[in-house]
Point group: C2
Chain length 146, copies 2
């Protein structure tokens, strides 16, 4: 019941992009340095985010990545699902289906999985990247004043 490094690193990369890609392209290299994540691995992660449409790229010198939307239009749920797949606690085709399972004992547990799934998705869909950026800037500010 754990997220993988893809989800964890990817969310940090997106926060980094939101903060740094306002005008300029941001290279893998610079994200990698700030976030201390290996360039090679980060590349793979960002490829997933690009494929999902949250990031666009420019190749060549001075190239890099930018967000495709404003940070308040991208939810943590969007990011995590792009990187981790669905956030259901079980792989069950019936989880979003009201049909009664043939095996009744499976059916009862299904209600549990559905409620867990709904609550996770509800949380992550109600936190935007912008929320995290705000939080981050707030922390940075209070760190400064020490």
């Amino acid at each position: 019941m754990k997220l993988s490094t893809k989800g964890r690193y990817g969310l940090r990369a997106m926060i980094d992009l939101a903060i740094h890609s306002k005008e300029n392209q941001v290279s893998i290299k610079s994200i990698s340095e700030r976030q201390e994540i290996s360039e090679n691995y980060l590349e793979r992660i960002i490829a997933l985010l690009k494929k999902a449409g949250y990031v666009k790229s420019t190749r060549g010198a001075q190239g890099g990545y930018m967000l495709t939307k404003k940070p308040d239009q991208i939810s943590v749920g969007n990011i995590l699902r792009a990187l981790e797949g669905d956030l259901n606690p079980v792989d069950c085709s019936l989880i979003n289906d009201d049909k009664v399972c043939s095996e009744s004992s499976l059916c009862v547990t299904k209600f549990v999985w559905k409620r867990i799934s709904d609550s996770i998705n509800d949380v992550v869909d109600n936190i935007s990247l912008q929320d995290l950026v705000n939080e981050q800037l707030e922390i940075d500010k209070s760190q400064l004043s020490r």
Copy 2:
């Protein structure tokens, strides 16, 4: 972000025990037959539940397992945590700690993980084994009347 078979099978085993161990000891074998889970594997799973104190055993002939408490005193959260470990989406010693992380970018994501964790635990701690038993009996009844 998935539960393992331990959690899934274990929850079904506990529902089975709640229904069948009212007076009698229930053997691994009988649970295994009803739930179609291998005896050997089920044994390991129930050992965890025993260690966690939700199940007691009697060895020897006519032996088997029983719940240690009434089903309304055992939550789904109790069961899942016994089998899966904590239900946090990340291994982070700081998740239940309000300290500010040294690495500020880690700190921001921590809020996300904490909120996911809280919501999962809130769901599973508010469903009791008795709730599932009731649900199960309800389904069985409506199946009969077809």
